[in-house]
């Protein structure tokens, strides 16, 4: 629906249909990088940036593919663009902040396989958004992802000190928290209209 207002798109992407908690996209970094608050917020920043760039690129590619009538190349070209954007961000972070580079570790190159980014490119094409709408959508999705990551990291930092049974340590506990967060985010339903 191209008539949607920009604000609606933003709220929808960031809260109502939060990429992590409602669509299950980007669960791997969500579980992997969410043990420290600082790392989590920077990871969110990196993902948001990659989302913005790849969203703009995906818009251009889609226009091109429609022009040359080759829809079957969509997936291959989207993923190629995302992979190169991630490479760019990786080199940039390595240069600017080696400490951050080390703390993100393997999860930085893995942004390539972060489903949230590819999904964003696919969703915006499916929904037929205009250029401005694409940017707002990417921004909303990126901020929503960051929000989920930061909330999760905050909770997990507190839980470090709690005495939980041995069996629940690690991923199982993280998933239960994620489930509770997801229930909370359901409360935003209907906000975007």
């Amino acid at each position: 629906m191209p008539e949607q207002s920009l604000w609606t798109i933003f709220i929808n992407a960031s809260l109502v249909n939060n990429f992590v908690l409602a669509y299950f996209l980007g669960i791997c970094p969500f579980l992997g990088v969410s043990s420290k608050l600082q790392t989590a917020s920077r990871m969110g920043g990196a993902v948001t940036f990659v989302m913005l760039v790849s969203s703009v690129c995906a818009f251009g590619i889609q226009a091109l593919l429609v022009a040359i009538d080759a829809p079957y190349l969509k997936l291959v070209s989207f993923i190629a663009v995302i992979a190169s954007t991630v490479q760019l961000v990786e080199m940039f972070i390595k240069k600017v902040s080696p400490a951050l580079f080390r703390s993100l570790g393997i999860f930085l190159p893995l942004i390539t396989t972060n489903c949230a980014i590819l999904a964003l490119a696919l969703f915006q094409t499916n929904k037929g958004y205009s250029f401005i709408q694409c940017i707002v959508y990417a921004l909303g999705a990126g901020l929503g992802f960051t929000l989920a990551l930061v909330l999760m990291a905050g909770l997990r930092e507190k839980l470090e000190l709690a005495a939980v049974p041995d069996v629940t340590k690690g991923t199982a506990l993280a998933l239960m928290i994620a489930g509770l967060l997801s229930v909370t985010f359901m409360g935003f339903g209907g906000l975007g209209g």
Partner: protein, 217 residues
């Protein structure tokens, strides 16, 4: 891989149970959670993923001596994306309903970490035959895990399995199990079960003084 003595049956079995991609390695969470709301979706998604996994393992393994190290990840991703496009169009032909209910998640098989993980960790270092067995094992292990999740969620959330009604009409459906949060809770439950088994086994070993490897095998 350091030990070339591993037989192909071992490679096949390790994916199914010992190194199950979902329950043990905790990889490929996104499609696992997103499409496991019914058993049928879970089965279709699992098989589609298994197909892509086997095909990409074959391709990566046969090209392993030609791809330069610097561009390997990018080439793997392109190989995977090609096969996913094939699957995407195939499912569309077989069943449009299924295609609609799986939605964007068919395309998102590209970014399933299990597939790239196997390409990088196994297929790029092993022969084609071993890679096929590895792909099959991991793929079926993934399908099995998806079915475990999908089955539980469909039974509790909808009172049915593969669309067949299991309970009397009076059964109160747990709607939350079909919703996103149900996925998180169900997976957490399965992981708890696996952790508990591991711990109990470890304790038993401590008491009996056996080596840990024997029992696992």
């Amino acid at each position: 891989m350091a030990e070339p003595s591993n037989s192909s049956t071992d490679e096949f079995l390790k994916g199914l149970w010992k190194d199950n991609p979902v329950f043990v390695q905790v990889l490929g969470m996104c499609p696992t959670l997103a499409v496991s709301n019914t058993a049928l979706n879970a089965l279709a998604m699992g098989l589609a993923t298994a197909f892509v996994l086997v095909m990409s393992n074959i391709a990566v393994s046969s090209l392993r001596n030609f791809v330069p190290k610097q561009v390997r990840i990018a080439s793997y991703i392109l190989i995977i994306a090609t096969f996913v496009t094939v699957v995407d169009y195939t499912i569309q032909v077989i069943s449009l309903d299924l295609y609609k209910s799986l939605g964007a998640f068919i395309s998102l098989i590209v970014v399933n970490c299990v597939i790239l993980g196997r390409a990088e960790a196994f297929a790029s270092k092993n022969t084609v035959a071993l890679s096929i067995m590895d792909g099959l094992g991991m793929g079926l292990g993934f399908t099995f895990a998806l079915l475990c999740l999908g089955g539980v969620r469909e039974i509790l959330g909808n009172g049915s399995l593969f669309g067949a009604q299991l309970f009397h009409d009076a059964f109160q459906k747990w709607v939350v199990m079909i919703l996103p949060s149900g996925g998180f809770f169900t997976l957490a439950g399965w992981l708890l079960l696996f952790n508990w088994r591991e711990q109990r086994k470890a304790k038993k070993h401590e008491r009996a003084g056996l080596s840990f490897r024997e029992e696992v095998a």
